[in-house]
């Protein structure tokens, strides 16, 4: 069999192994923190929550405190970090395919700021309170969608999307929306710190409600994006080639923009703007598995999730008891990485 195809046979195992690794990592990180809990105990507590498994493990009793720490405090945070990391990476991959450019990222091109503005409006004005806990995600989504559309049209000259206009449009729009957010924060000084911390990006004090709130956006968005793996592959060869291969490019672009904005908004709505994950992760995964979206999308989700879980654990433990907003960490690593990419690619 041909060598460049035989690689594909390993995809399934790669995904399975990565998923297993993510699972172990997630459980392991729940044991890290001021209260020391063993890995075995953590596994037991988590399994005990699935009642149908209880018979298997004989309903062993665990300390209430430990159960609360693992299940109510640390676990939702880990799950959320995994979802958000995966979502940002998948959106990054999608937009990189969409723009045929490995510099695109929800943060760089302004979608994250767009979602953040929507969320800020939701938090501060209270408009749309009747939507309940879906208010903020929906605001973030709507605003992200508009931003994506604007950036896309700004960076399109004729039928081509130019990198520099794309980045500039993203920067300009981000700055504009940050100004609006700052202005709103000034007007609502008493709630300023709330929005401020949220904007820096953090998983602190998140609970299962947050997971329930954003997992539909993220899971549905991600799953649907994976449907379009082949189309995204074709898009890497250019719009006209994709079209000649039977892709309805105009329709597909709209679908991808909506799904990308949906998924990104899910991530931003719950934990603020966490930059550069959508840039770094796809880049690393592309080096590992190549540009084929059929493997790139699922692997980016898994690696993004692993990365975020690890980074969040670092954020909450390294300077304990002080917690660093995770957005600061990702930007500390991501900024230089982005510059490295720019230098290497010599983007015109």
């Amino acid at each position: 069999m041909e060598s460049s195809l035989s690689v594909r046979k390993r995809w399934k195992y790669l995904i399975a192994v990565s998923f297993l690794f993510l699972l172990v990592e997630s459980i392991f990180t729940t044991t890290i923190g001021p209260a020391s809990i063993s890995f075995r105990e953590a596994v037991g507590i988590i399994l005990s929550k699935f009642s149908f498994l209880e018979s298997l493990f004989g309903g062993k009793e665990y300390a209430d405190v430990h159960e609360t720490i693992i299940w109510t405090i640390r676990m939702p945070r880990v799950v959320l970090a995994a979802l958000v990391g995966g979502a940002l990476a998948v959106v990054g991959v999608t937009f990189q395919g969409f723009f045929r450019n490995s510099m695109a990222d929800p943060y760089v091109i302004g979608i994250s700021s767009g979602a953040a503005l929507g969320a800020t409006i939701g938090i501060l004005t209270g408009v749309g309170d009747f939507l309940g806990m879906f208010q903020i995600p929906l605001f973030a989504f709507g605003s992200a969608l508009v931003t994506t559309w604007v950036v896309y049209n700004l960076s399109k000259v004729g039928n081509k999307v130019f990198t520099h206009t794309l980045l500039l449009a993203g920067i300009a729009l981000s700055a504009f929306m940050s100004a609006i957010m700052s202005f709103m924060m000034v007007l609502n000084a008493e709630e300023m710190h709330k929005v401020f911390y949220w904007l820096m990006g953090s998983f602190a004090n998140r609970n299962w409600d947050h997971v329930i709130m954003v997992s539909p956006l993220i899971l549905i968005g991600t799953a649907l994006l994976m449907f379009f793996a082949k189309e995204l592959n074709a898009m890497l060869f250019g719009d006209s080639t994709a079209q000649h291969l039977g892709v309805n490019i105009d329709k597909l672009k709209i679908v991808l923009l909506v799904l990308g904005a949906l998924t990104a908004a899910g991530a931003v709505a719950v934990c603020g703007t966490i930059g550069f994950v959508g840039l770094i992760i796809p880049h690393i995964v592309r080096i590992m598995v190549g540009p084929d979206h059929r493997i790139l999308l699922p692997m980016s989700f898994l690696v993004g999730a692993m990365f975020m879980v690890a980074t969040d654990t670092f954020a909450r433990t390294f300077f304990a008891p002080v917690e660093i907003p995770i957005g600061i960490i990702t930007s500390l690593f991501g900024g230089p990485f982005f510059i490295y990419l720019l230098r290497k690619k010599k983007v015109v």
Partner: protein, 427 residues
């Protein structure tokens, strides 16, 4: 049965009209090339045929179905395109890139089965890209990439293949390889081929039918011999060209000569007489004729290459029976032609007893009538003098009397221009 039917097609970019009211049919199984100068709308037409661009007015029918309405996937099963620009920044292997041609035939989640791989392999072997299968597409040269793209298009198993200047990145051997491959597919599989080509000779050589576009309109559509005429080429490309039957290939060749120059007004009556034969004069006849000079030749034997050319252009010729020496009667005709002419050009033809009279007449006219004489000495007279020195003597006497000598027939054009200026002054 027509495969593609273009009806009243208008296309414009904004206010700028590119294609105007095009109506034509492309028969199933034909090999068509679209030619025309830059900006004539060739690529735009091809993009309209592939539904990449949607015309403002009119329709393109593929098997009687409007291609803008056919769903993209079923269109991709019938029609494949090799676009001009194929740059890719992402590291797909060549084989994976070619396999993407199977996309319209596959479901969303199915991978490539053995049949898909077999078809890709077939296409890659035809295009000579199978050896590249594990290379990254980003590392290929322009020519290799071009052939990979053709392989992908063939992997779609289309009925119609559209190509936009497929030979532009290719070295000469690959140009022929590719076009010959296309012709083979056209002949054996009945694949309909529509290609935009720059090179008129390739178009003439490979296609059944040629569409000549000029300023968004079809100037001519038909077999190459009918479309690629001097008149059409001159009108569309504004250049002079020579069309000659190639003795080696038997095909006709178009040799572009240069930008077309209109002769100055008031010199319509300048006459040039050529002493030629054996094809030595054909080039000059053509150029002079195209410049609007009146050209005559003599004496030529019937059936001679130059005689054919002169007849084709409708020139006045003093002629003689095939292979016969020049008779007094032909000399008489020739003398009249020489007398009427303003300039006489002696081309480097072999001189024997049979045609020595031609030189004698020229010398006589130079001495008695003060005619201007130009001698082309591409090949020394010593090597083509079969009269034991008489011809050489005649030539040197002409030179002594003030005849110009030139190395190349092409130089004559400049010289003739100078002569014209003088003649115009004299009048």
């Amino acid at each position: 049965m027509p495969e593609i039917n273009v009806q009243q097609l208008d296309f414009s970019y904004g206010d700028r009209s590119i294609l105007e009211n095009l109506n034509f049919e492309i028969a199933s199984g034909s090999f068509i090339t679209i030619i025309g100068p830059n900006g004539s709308g060739k690529s735009t037409l091809l993009k309209n045929l592939s539904a990449s661009l949607i015309p403002q007015k009119g329709a393109v029918l593929l098997d009687r179905e409007d291609i803008y309405r056919i769903n993209k996937r079923s269109l991709a099963k019938q029609l494949a395109v090799v676009p001009q620009d194929n740059n890719v920044d992402f590291e797909f292997s060549v084989l994976e890139s070619v396999l993407m041609g199977r996309m319209p035939h596959q479901n969303r989640f199915t991978g490539d089965d053995e049949r898909d791989v077999a078809i890709a392999r077939w296409a890659m072997e035809l295009t000579g890209t199978w050896d590249l299968k594990d290379r990254y597409i980003t590392t290929l040269s322009g020519g290799e990439l071009q052939r990979v793209v053709v392989a992908r298009a063939l992997t779609q198993e289309p009925k119609v293949l559209l190509l936009d200047e497929p030979t532009s990145h290719l070295d000469i051997q690959y140009q022929y390889d590719l076009l010959e491959l296309l012709r083979t597919l056209n002949r054996t599989k009945g694949l309909t081929i529509v290609a935009v080509l720059h090179d008129l000779n390739l178009a003439a050589q490979f296609s059944d039918q040629v569409i000549l576009l000029n300023r968004g309109k079809i100037m001519a559509y038909g077999p190459p011999v009918e479309v690629l005429t001097l008149q059409n080429i001159k009108e569309v490309y504004q250049i002079e060209a020579v069309i000659s039957q190639n003795e080696i290939t038997g095909r006709f060749n178009i040799i572009p000569l240069g930008k077309f120059k209109n002769k100055p007004d008031g010199v319509k009556n300048i006459r040039v007489h050529l002493v030629c034969g054996g094809g030595k004069g054909a080039f000059l006849m053509d150029r002079l004729y195209q410049h609007g000079f009146e050209v005559s030749c003599g004496v030529l034997n019937v059936g001679d290459t130059d005689w054919h050319k002169a007849r084709e252009l409708g020139l006045e010729v003093a002629e003689e029976a095939p292979f016969a020496p020049v008779s007094p009667k032909a000399v008489e005709v020739n003398r009249r032609l020489i007398k009427k002419s303003d300039v006489i050009v002696v081309l480097p033809v072999p001189i024997g007893k049979g045609n020595l009279a031609n030189l004698e007449e020229v010398l006589a006219a130079q001495v008695n009538l003060k005619k201007k004489v130009v001698i082309i000495e591409q090949e020394s007279i010593d090597k083509r003098d079969f009269t034991g020195g008489t011809a050489r003597k005649l030539i040197s006497r002409m030179i002594k009397n003030g005849a110009c000598t030139r190395k190349n027939p092409n130089d004559v054009m400049e010289l003739v221009d100078e002569e014209i200026n003088e003649i115009v002054k004299d009048r």
